[in-house]
Amino acid sequence: MTAIQLDRLDIAYGETQVVHGIDLAIAEGESFALVGESGSGKSTILRAIAGLAPDWRGGISVLGRSRRHGVDRAVARQVQMVFQDPYGSLHPRKTIDAALSEPLAIHGIGNRGERVEAMLAAVGLDRRFRFRFPHQLSGGQRQRVAIARALMLEPKILLLDEPTSALDVSVQAEILNLLKRLRREQGLTYLLVTHNLPVVSFLCDRLAVMRHGRIVEVADVARLKAQALTDPYSQELLAATLGG
């Protein structure tokens, strides 16, 4: 079954159209990456699927059901998003416990205390972090909380927007390992946005290279590892990564 299906998707912010006619099908259980430079529209696609960029035309369906424009609770249960900057994505005046309980309260799910504790354990955080505030945590710990918050509703799909680019390399390794383990344990589907090709190589099965709001190439990760991407722009990206 396809986890995410995009049909001729156009997305605009006001007058400016930033994504043009995207067709994409991501299978359930797959880990798929969108790569490209800033402004290529890759994050915008995630935002449209999550409902944060409501000005789109075409089709978005999640696990076989079409997404409506605006707030869609059924989709929210299935799809959650993790943002780039863990310093900006957690409410500074809410404790970790409050941040993790909120999605449960919105969806009327009980047994919150236990679920919060179980989720903290799943992302590798000690229970003493439960009643702390975000400013008392390091960047890596905060990103673990952001991932925990996304997983509270037990979604099937995670949208990951540059989940490690604000972190140090050693902390990045910890978060990448965590994401890989969670995917294996919970059978998640990932749609990852990044400009870091080695991260794609570690975490993903397939990738799409984007430029100016269009997909220029879709390839298997084996082709990336063999450095055999065919589109000239993909080769440019590859060269930039290897040379730097």
Partner: protein, 278 residues
């Protein structure tokens, strides 16, 4: 032998906290000639504070001490603020991380770059204009006449950083400190910006201190690398010999980075308890 451009001995930077003073740089020593030195470390390793203390930019209540901190024979620590202003920009300049926060939003790009020049040199208007356009061309801006009239919000991040570099290099300093000059930029633009810095540093025979958390990047653009952890230099090596690094911290950092042909099921993570005592 000529004395080095910069000599640092036993540099310490500390900040007061409720539990007494905390040292963020714990007695590091190095020298820098007209070469390219890279300083690598994670957040909180003290690498940026090292760069800032050379320009005397560590504000109170931060405290900088050193047995010796000399630039071209001048003792930096005993200089007054006024005397420092003759050094900052003119002889040592610094490229900061994010062009969005380092450019003045209400001045045009051309005015800002020209200001950096006329603060330190007396020049006629036509000469300033010519130097400005030459400099913009040197940082590979295609249409310097047009770009000089733009405001910072009208340029992209990569162009903003090239403008910063132009501003820092126009007074022709002898030492350039680049603190994470590309971490706010895209991979595709990163190399372009570093190539420009590299080319100008070589052409003008300047010293370069490149501060970054990216080991690969630093080893590509520098001659020598200092690896910092928790305020101390744990390893010093030639850039080409990075793969032969000995210290467990350096080895850990290298191993933690995924590669383009990644085959490992799990990435090794640093065991921080191992050298927490340092």
């Amino acid at each position: 032998m000529t004395p080095p451009l910069l000599a640092v001995e036993n540099l310490r930077v500390s900040f007061p906290t409720h539990a007494g003073r905390v040292e963020v740089v714990k007695g590091i020593s190095f020298t820098l000639g007209r070469e390219r030195l890279g300083i690598v470390g994670e957040s909180g390793s003290g690498k940026s504070m090292t760069g800032r203390s050379i320009l005397k930019l560590v504000r109170k209540p931060g405290l900088v001490t050193a047995d010796r901190l000399a630039f071209d024979g001048i003792d930096i620590l005993s200089r007054s603020e006024k005397q420092m202003r003759a050094i900052r920009g003119a002889r040592i300049s610094m490229v900061m991380q994010d062009p969005k926060f380092s450019l003045n939003p209400v001045m045009t790009v051309g005015e800002q770059i020209a200001e950096a020049l006329v603060t330190h040199q007396k020049l006629g208007r036509t000469a300033v204009r010519r130097r400005l356009l030459d400099m913009l061309e040197a940082v590979r801006i295609d249409d310097p006449e047009r770009v000089a009239g733009l405001y910072p919000h009208e340029v992209s991040g990569g162009m903003g950083q090239r403008i910063m570099i132009a501003m820092m290099l126009i007074p022709e300093p002898e030492l350039l400190i680049a603190d994470e000059p590309t971490s706010a930029l895209d991979v595709s633009v990163q190399r372009q910006v570093l190539d420009i810095i590299d080319e100008l540093v070589r052409d003008k025979g300047m010293g370069l201190m490149l501060i970054s958390h990216d080991l690969n990047l630093v080893s590509h653009y520098c001659d020598r690398i200092l690896v910092m952890n928790a305020g101390s230099v744990v390893e010093e090596c030639a850039a080409g010999q990075l793969s032969a690094a000995r210290h467990p911290y350096t080895r850990g950092l290298l191993a933690a980075m995924p590669t383009i042909d990644e085959a490992r099921a799990e990435l090794p993570v640093l065991d921080r308890s191992q050298w927490a005592g340092t």
